[in-house]
């Protein structure tokens, strides 16, 4: 009975919101702006939501939330455009999408890849919304299982998993890249005691390396150099006619979609980490579960679907602890918290008493935003693919200019450019030696979290490492990390291969991949 009431309430709210022309205009406007933000390097979901927060001060709470959530959903989705078309993810969340999206584009299937991400993002957002509506209080409890000990493992896990997945020849190279990222993240004053580390007396380095210039430098510059050097042209969109993907492709991968969505919601609900880890974990799981893991990285539909479903499902997940505990689950959710405070809504455990309809309203808006993204996505994708027809000698310099503007516009600091260029050059040489770039960026993003939480955890335990193994959630995470580490080493692979080989009397085909 209660659930029926909820469902009725939900539909009533959705239709009530959707009936106003202004709301619909706001919704589509902000979604399209969001997609643009996501697609352009340097403009992220967090920045977009932050900018719109000030602009929506004069709006009603409802209208403001429509604008902000539209922006959020649009930007998380839009990140995939850059990943697929130019191999420069517009946001860190879309870095995993580039793994298979760009190879697809090189094969001339950019249109299909964009269509898949549009549908996957839509389904992901809807699943996230579903969980927000029904299980919010339950999932909020999960968020409280995480203390500094668990956060450290989680951050470390995120770096390791992206490292383990992206190494092309040797898995160690991915981990090395991740550790370089982790090292770069220690630059600046530490967050607990303000001790300056590797700052060389430069006050610009006090705040640490900013993520956006690193992201743009590391992904953008090597790609630009490479395309111009090799006279590469991304597969012309000749094969592509439709963006609405064949339902067969989607239906056959429904298991991947559901699994990825659940991963996204779960990771979103954990405070402080967001869409980027969700995408990587989901990508990794999809690869593990796939019957053809060797296809991953060469243009597997599953890869694109897994990461895009998860990063969008993360949104619903991230809003859950925000609304029920007042703890934002992801960086853009931090901005949402600010926006809510401006409109005199204090999220927290009392919200269902003080604003009984608010969670339902947010759910309804999230639902509308995902529809709007789906529709705008299908309309835009067709046009975006045409970008690939521009010859690279013209297109790449434009991308370069966009990269420079993107880095600079964040805080309007020239220093960001001094940061972007060397990191880009470092990334280019690393890439030409076969080191993947994504783990480096993930290391820079998650490094502060790993560093700060490890040290805080040790402050809490007064120097003892024991709680890492006595706390149940921490222990589980530890075992997963160790297992992941061992199972990826060539030694283990050979060992497992031999075992299997014996069992199947040599018939089993799992040769070491050297």
């Amino acid at each position: 009975m209660f659930i029926l009431q909820q469902i009725w309430d939900f539909y009533a709210t959705v239709f009530h919101t959707a009936l106003s022309i202004e709301n619909i205009l706001l919704l589509f406007g902000s979604v399209i702006l969001g997609i643009t933000f996501g697609a352009l390097p340097g403009l992220t979901a967090t920045l977009g939501v932050g900018l719109l927060t000030t602009l929506t001060y004069g709006f009603s709470t409802n209208a403001a939330m429509i604008t902000l959530l539209g922006m959020y959903v649009g930007a998380v989705y839009g990140g995939s455009y850059g990943s697929i078309c130019v191999n420069i993810p517009g946001t860190a969340a879309a870095a995993a999408t580039a793994m298979d999206g760009y190879p697809l584009a090189c094969k001339g299937e950019a249109g299909r890849a964009l269509g898949l991400t549009t549908t996957a993002s839509f389904i992901g957002t809807m699943v996230g919304m579903f969980f927000l509506a029904l299980f919010a209080p339950l999932i909020a409890k999960l968020a409280l299982q995480f203390t500094s000990f668990e956060f450290f493992f989680l951050a470390f896990f995120g770096i390791m998993i992206s490292g383990g997945l992206t190494g092309q020849d040797l898995v160690y190279k991915g981990w090395i890249a991740g550790l370089i990222g982790l090292f770069l993240s220690t630059i600046g004053r530490d967050h607990l005691q303000f001790f300056p580390r590797f700052t060389f007396g430069l006050s610009e380095l006090d705040g640490g390396l900013e993520v956006v210039p690193v992201l743009i430098g590391a992904f953008g510059i090597p790609q630009i150099i490479q395309v111009i050097r090799d006279q590469l042209s991304v597969g012309e969109a000749k094969k592509f006619q439709r963006v609405l993907p064949e339902f067969g492709i989607i239906l056959r991968r429904i298991k991947t979609i559901i699994r990825s969505a659940l991963i996204g919601v779960g990771i979103g609900a954990v405070p402080g980490i967001g869409e980027d880890i969700a995408a990587w974990v989901s990508y990794g799981t999809a690869k593990k579960a796939s019957k053809h893991p060797e296809m991953f990285g060469k243009g597997a539909y599953e890869g694109v679907i897994a990461s895009e479903t998860a990063n969008n499902a993360c949104i619903g997940g991230a809003i859950i602890p925000l609304l029920t505990l007042g703890i934002p689950g992801s960086p853009p959710a931090v901005m949402l918290l600010g926006a809510l405070m401006i409109h005199n809504v204090t999220p927290g455990p009392m919200i269902s008493i003080e604003n009984p309809h608010f969670i339902m309203e947010m759910t309804a808006i999230l639902c509308l935003a995902s529809f709007a993204t789906f529709i705008s996505g299908l309309l835009l994708a067709k046009q975006v693919v045409k970008v690939l027809r521009i010859p690279p000698p013209v297109f790449m310099p434009i991308v370069l200019v966009l990269c420079v503007i993107g880095s600079y516009s964040l805080g309007t600091k020239v220093f960001n450019l001094y940061l972007m260029v060397p990191i880009g050059i470092l990334a280019y040489y690393m890439q030409s030696m076969g080191y993947p770039i994504a783990p480096l960026v993930i290391g820079v993003i998650l490094g502060p979290m790993a560093d700060e939480n490890l040290r805080r955890a040790l402050m809490v335990s007064q120097g003892s490492f024991l709680p890492f193994f006595t706390r149940p959630v921490a222990l589980i995470l530890f075992i997963i990390i160790v297992w992941m580490f061992i199972s990826q080493t060539p030694f283990y692979k050979r060992f497992a291969g031999e075992l299997r080989g014996k069992r199947f009397k040599g018939k089993m085909a799992n040769p070491p991949t050297e």
């Binding site: 932050g50 001060y57 409280l144 500094s148 600010g338 999220p347 455990p349 009392m350 805080r456 402050m459």
Partner: protein, 335 residues
Amino acid sequence: MKRYAVMVFLLVFVCAGLGLAQEKKFPVRDITNVVVWAAGGGTDVCNRIVSGEMAKLFKVNINVINKPGGVGGSIGMNDVYSRPHDGYTWAGVSESCVTAGVQGGWDKRMYVWDYFIVGGSPDVLSVTPNAPYKDLKELIEAAKAKPGSIRAGASASGSIHHLNLLALEKGSGAKFNYIPYPGSAPAQTAAMTGEVAVVVTSVAEQQQLIRAGKLRPLAMLTPQPFTMKDVGSIPSSFGPYPGLSTYLPIMQAIGFAVPAKVPENVKEAIAEVFKKVIASDTLKVWAEQNYYTLSGKTGKEAKEEFEKLESLFAWTLWELGAAEVNPETLKIPKP
């Protein structure tokens, strides 16, 4: 000819008179309030409410914009200070802005501003609901018995809540194991999960959790008790520990500032409307709903409060090793 000369003279005189009268009248155009912290924070929300109300009385727009960044809001403060000192640009500031100097973002003292303090939310000390301490006395005694054994969370080293915790330690003789967090929300979460037993943040930040029973308040770090809906009265920590009055209260001071060189008549005009707004019912209702204590200090009184905060914050940060610039070079007196 002479008549013309007289007329021209008169005209000039009248125009000058009008001009003078014009100068007296404030404001004649829109005002910009540059909040030096991000949108949605306490300083931002507070400035938007007050500016909105003042705009109604001034009958001009007051545009609130955000210019966060730098250290202690230094980017916004430098920006406002570099514009004409005519009273048409305000800086929305809070107590933490006084740290900009020792952090190397602001090369002047804080007395170059005149402040209009709206108020702030008082600090409260709470514990995890199942913690064994029934009141502040039990907690302090336990902390004294085993110094450094009880974990206390607060936002980053040198933040206002950390300063409150330090003052409590000094005034009561207890020693906690201080665990820093990036902000009040994560510190409160840590208290809910039991990672820390004690947490110090403002009432506004904690009210939802206290009312939902997720945190249990022990004492206010202000001389007055505080009455909260659904919870009742939270006693003052000054009752059992009168010695605290030497170190506390260290209150939030949110409001706005104009450069001190702004003409006196303009400052007076702002102060007059500001006081009216602070006394209005709208602000009273807003303050009550948001767990703020209104201050309404202006002029010398407000300046003194900020100078006190400046010396306290600057020297504490310097002692913690978190300051870039020695407060002595800025000639900030010791507290």
